[in-house]
Symmetry: C2
Subunit: 523 residues, 2 copies
């Protein structure tokens, strides 16, 4: 991971950057935090630059300044009903889409900024950001990746804000067991259409973000059957579900909202059932397989398992994105809790009238500092992993063979999502408690951070199941001998296991707290 | 703890009880849970009777049947705003108070039923139950305990529902450090009144349940000063804050709502500030100290620390009550999660068309069963502790010397609240995740259980601070020698530490999983 943060910058330029008051506005010099800021032995500007370059920080500020000034982004001064929250998140989403702060051409120039942009919105308004990234990010991106040039108009009208998308894999009765989905798509050669059908309530697509009230199109994963009765596994279709002008559901489509949740209240998660609902032949995302004009299924993949894997490839990126989102939530919570602890005074030495900030007490430090450290390590990892994933995607788009990297990314993202989202879960909760009653007030926002992080533990692969996926990979490699880890891990995440024999015999050589705290002593 | 569950019941009577379909309605014989119910090797009715006697179960059913049939207790079919939630909880509270299902005379006959009654409501509608127990339970109970016969009218009008009470100790800037409170009450001998004053915003009483919108009276803890300028520590006053007819605040009282929270949205937590606000001399709760007609402070306690302890005695009972509330929340969550796991199917053996209930998978069992076991142990403990505390209270009311029991109850409740509330926190969260996306829906109620349990970790003593209180007691006894534990623990909770020397040398003698699972092997 040593490649991280090697953007070459002449030191004179860095010096000038540090004086840029737009990127680095001076913190307040008064108030309870001032004394702690003065005591700091690190330069927070340099620390920030070690995570993000100036273009990234500029983009963050552009997002936050926009939201701060736009009246629709003002925090409501009373609690909203669920419908009001969804309405507000939708309006905000269209404002952001029309603003075109970060377009596909910006993305092609600097793919890594997509994460920065998304996370800046996650930090400000997560419901809007989730709706936006599903409807204007994941939806066109999956079409671009899996379409064979037949659905460009849908992507264009989506970009114009005329169509809003959603991604529909999960059903009421099946989530983790994706192959068990039961929605069917049967090809009708006489009309050249697919007939979508939901056999019963348990096969309704559900949990789909944007589907509840607002989307016009859904990418639906369905079991494909040809007229000869043959089954060709799960395939993805772009399915129009609502009239873009009226948002009324089309005949044959039963669509609705899943109702209130424990967080992300602005996201209209929904369900949909199809009754013999016909869509054009072109709407199959055919990169991994197609039905030709003769009504036969043809695929470049010989192995159905590999075809299935390729069609679900989007989920690996989703997991990596979630790692970053969880990191943003914990960053916010730990910042709030540390600032609170530096401001909140309680008790003091017996000989003093003045009480001490609770941050001075070891018990408060033991509660918060490990989460701060953990969150920082995870951020470094996420930046590295996001870059490694982006590089792999570019190679894939350029037709390069990525060899073992795909499998390593799958295993590593399966291991990382549980680590990152549970770190946020536990850290946010500790922050809530460390702020006492004040942390329980909605205006502290910590309760919302908890509720918003919560689904991260479940979607794009349930955490406990993902751990098994990562373990399966490790065990399968180990079965071939530890030395194999040198080959199967081009990104380097598991190469150290090739030295398992010697590593497992190593012991800590720390003799004192100073040793333990020193990086140098960790050979 | 061996005294628990020794209510003598002839076995013929028990046999008849078990056939009582009102107390033990037959569970459904169809549906996904039926097969698991059939497999059970225990009789759930007997298990229930080992926790609660028939009078308790009857009372529970009376509460739940009432709520099930009363239109005001129907679950709203849309999300409510904060104001609507508070309005609804208030209306429900008055309905329950007027219903007089459990009165003070019921309490005097069977004090232990108070907990049963309260927990039955907590299980059904926690916001209402919290408001009710603060306003019609804790408020009159503290007055009865600390008044000297001057405020009976307030208690009577409270019982009639004309007055609603609140308990006000915490201030904006002080919670854990209770002695640091800064609200003052200065005695004015010319008028025979106390003048309450809040020096600044940080000294506003805050977080007080019922104070936000609905209460008429608050028990206010304030620093007492006599006209000679002498300070007599924190004392409790019954303070009228709102006109009982209009609910308008009286002149000199600035009172308001603290706003939305991460749970218990129906409880109107509030703040109050006093500007030279006068209340009658009688309104000091004078059991622990009074100002006489000459304007001098007199107290039966010579040691101010002991007086302070006596005046805050109510908080020990609060902690024990919270242990039970947390237990109710986890009981609900674990029941939901286990039933879900028995219904939810995902994957199955390769040779089978049928999928398996996820409860059949070891990973799901490992996630849920420890919380079920933990919750059961905690319930047994809570029942024992509640009874021990009730017995101590009866002795106190009868003027008996309780010796070391008071200190043991303080230490044990300080240790137990963190154990019970964190067990609920972690268990409820695991249940949320174990139910996947369905557990994230508001209608699963698990998110609400989490939000409602959350403040249990903070109020009536912040958990991390309480641990230190319990540790202090253990360390102070140990400093005198382990054999002292036999004397300081009349309830028996710490007597085993007298055998520390031999206990610390014991090793587990289990040789197999069967040994570990057998109670007999644990000598």
């Amino acid at each position: 991971m040593s490649e991280f943060n090697t953007i070459a910058r002449p030191s004179a330029h860095v010096g000038k950057l540090l004086e840029n008051k737009t990127l680095f506005p001076d913190p307040p010099t008064r108030g309870p935090l001032a004394q702690y800021r003065k005591q700091a032995t690190i330069d927070w500007r340099k620390l920030k630059l070690s995570f993000h370059d100036e273009t990234s920080i500029e983009l963050q500020h552009r997002v936050w300044d926009f939201a701060r000034k736009h009246p629709l982004f003002a925090h409501p001064n009373q609690t909203l009903t669920m419908d009001e929250e969804r309405h507000l998140a939708t309006k905000r989403m269209y404002v952001v889409q029309n603003e075109k702060m970060f377009t596909i051409s910006d993305f092609l120039e600097r793919p890594d900024l997509a994460t920065i942009y998304h996370q800046a919105w996650i930090a400000y308004e997560p419901s809007m950001a989730v709706k936006y990234s599903l409807g204007f990010g994941m939806f066109p991106s999956v079409i671009r990746t899996l379409d064979v040039g037949r659905l460009d108009e849908i992507v264009e009208r989506n970009e114009k804000g005329e169509y809003l998308g959603a991604f529909g894999l999960t059903e009421i009765a099946h989530g983790t067991n994706a192959k068990g989905m039961r929605t069917t798509a049967t090809y009708d050669p006489t009309s050249g259409e697919y007939i979508l059908n939901t056999p019963d309530f348990e096969a309704a697509k559900c949990w789909i973000g944007n589907l509840g009230k607002t989307c016009t199109h859904v990418i639906v994963y369905a079991q494909l059957y040809t007229a000869d009765g043959k089954h060709h596994g799960l395939n993805a279709f772009v399915v129009p579900v609502r009239d873009p002008t009226t948002l009324q559901a089309y005949p044959g489509v039963t669509v609705g909202d899943l109702g209130a949740k424990a967080g992300l209240q602005g996201v209209d998660n929904g369900f949909v059932m199809f009754r013999q609902y016909r869509i054009p032949r072109d709407n199959l995302l055919a990169r991994t397989g197609d039905v030709n004009e003769q009504g036969e299924f043809v695929s470049p993949f010989k192995d159905p398992a590999k075809r299935f894997g390729a069609s679900l490839g989007a989920l690996s990126g989703g997991r990596i994105s979630i790692c970053g989102i969880a990191n943003v939530y914990l960053t916010k919570a730990i910042t709030i809790a540390l600032r609170y602890s530096a401001s909140r005074k309680q008790f003091g030495p017996d000989d003093s009238e003045e009480e001490w900030p609770v941050l001075e007490y070891q018990s408060q430090q033991f509660r918060l500092f490990p989460h701060l450290a953990n969150n920082t390590v995870i951020r470094v990892f996420n930046l590295w992993f996001g870059k490694a994933y982006g590089d792999m995607q570019l190679k894939l788009l350029g037709g390069e063979n990525i060899g073992a990297t795909g499998m390593e990314v799958h295993a590593l993202s399966s291991a990382a999502k549980p680590v990152c989202t549970w770190a946020a879960r536990d850290g946010v909760q500790e922050c809530r408690e460390a702020c006492g009653g004040h942390g329980y007030l909605k205006l502290s926002t910590i309760g919302d951070l908890r509720g918003n992080n919560d689904p991260n533990c479940t979607y794009e692969g349930e955490n406990n199941v993902l751990i098994q996926q990562a373990s399966n990979w490790l065990l399968s490699v180990r079965a071939k001998g530890y030395e194999k880890f040198a080959e199967v891990s081009p990104l380097g995440s598991a190469q150290f296991l090739a030295q398992y024999a010697s590593l497992s015999k190593r012991k800590a050589n720390w003799k004192s707290p100073t040793d333990a705290g020193s990086i140098a002593s960790r050979s």
